[in-house]
């Protein structure tokens, strides 16, 4: 039981996305499009949860917050979505993985894989994000 939990918690998720060429390129392109459209004041990908139920999903506001962060408005960005710096960093890593030559990319992905296996960072971030979502839903932030 404990071993299965450990396997799930410490499973390298981010590095597995980075090591798949189609996934990293598609995410880099979609990410650039989404943030670019938002920065240009155009409608991008609309959250299906919010569109149907009017309830924001855990990731709602991330694009706007990343836009604010890219404009140097750190506090406004954190108010919009506290996880914007983490997701911007992840997005930059995805972009780097899409653009870097194979030798450098493989080293970077191997390093991230080791880091995830040691710390379970992805699971911590995703769990914290779900908790943050709950806190925001109940208006505590």
């Amino acid at each position: 039981m404990e071993s299965k939990f450990r396997q799930t918690w410490f499973k390298p998720v981010f590095s597995s996305i980075l090591s798949d060429p189609a996934e990293r390129i598609a995410l880099a392109v979609f990410g650039l499009l989404q943030v670019g459209l938002h920065m240009a004041g155009l409608p991008g990908w609309a959250c299906p949860f919010k569109a149907v139920f009017g309830i924001p999903c855990p990731g709602c506001g991330l694009t706007a917050a990343m836009d604010e962060l890219l404009h140097g408005q750190l506090l406004a960005s954190l108010r919009t979505h506290a996880f914007a710096p983490i997701f911007l960093l992840a997005f930059l890593v995805i972009l780097a993985a899409a653009l870097l030559p194979a030798s450098l990319r493989n080293k970077m992905v191997a390093g991230i894989d080791r880091f995830e296996r040691r710390t379970g960072m992805t699971a911590w971030v995703l769990t914290a994000l779900i908790l943050y979502w709950g806190i925001r839903l109940f208006g505590l932030v």
Partner: protein, 80 residues
């Protein structure tokens, strides 16, 4: 109304793909797909040829609804 209907159908298709993502890739990627539906969408297209997942119809419906949503958004922006 049409926009909401399109969103609702897109939501159903998205949830079906998300459930398959959870089943195939595990809980962490599933949560990632929930947070970032773009990832679920990309994953769906990448696994379209996997016959065991039976994603084709849902992905076509989802994509169609997204395209419809974009068109309606543009029309709404131009008319306002």
């Amino acid at each position: 109304m049409l926009s909401w209907l399109g969103s609702a159908i897109a939501w159903i298709a998205g949830i079906v793909v998300l459930v398959k993502l959870f089943q195939k890739e595990g809980i962490l990627k599933g949560i990632l797909g929930l947070i970032c539906m773009i990832y679920t969408f990309i994953w769906g297209w990448m696994h379209l040829k996997d016959e065991s997942l039976k994603l084709k119809t849902w992905m076509y419906i989802w994509t169609g609804c997204i395209v419809l949503g974009i068109i309606l958004n543009v029309i709404a922006q131009k008319s306002s």
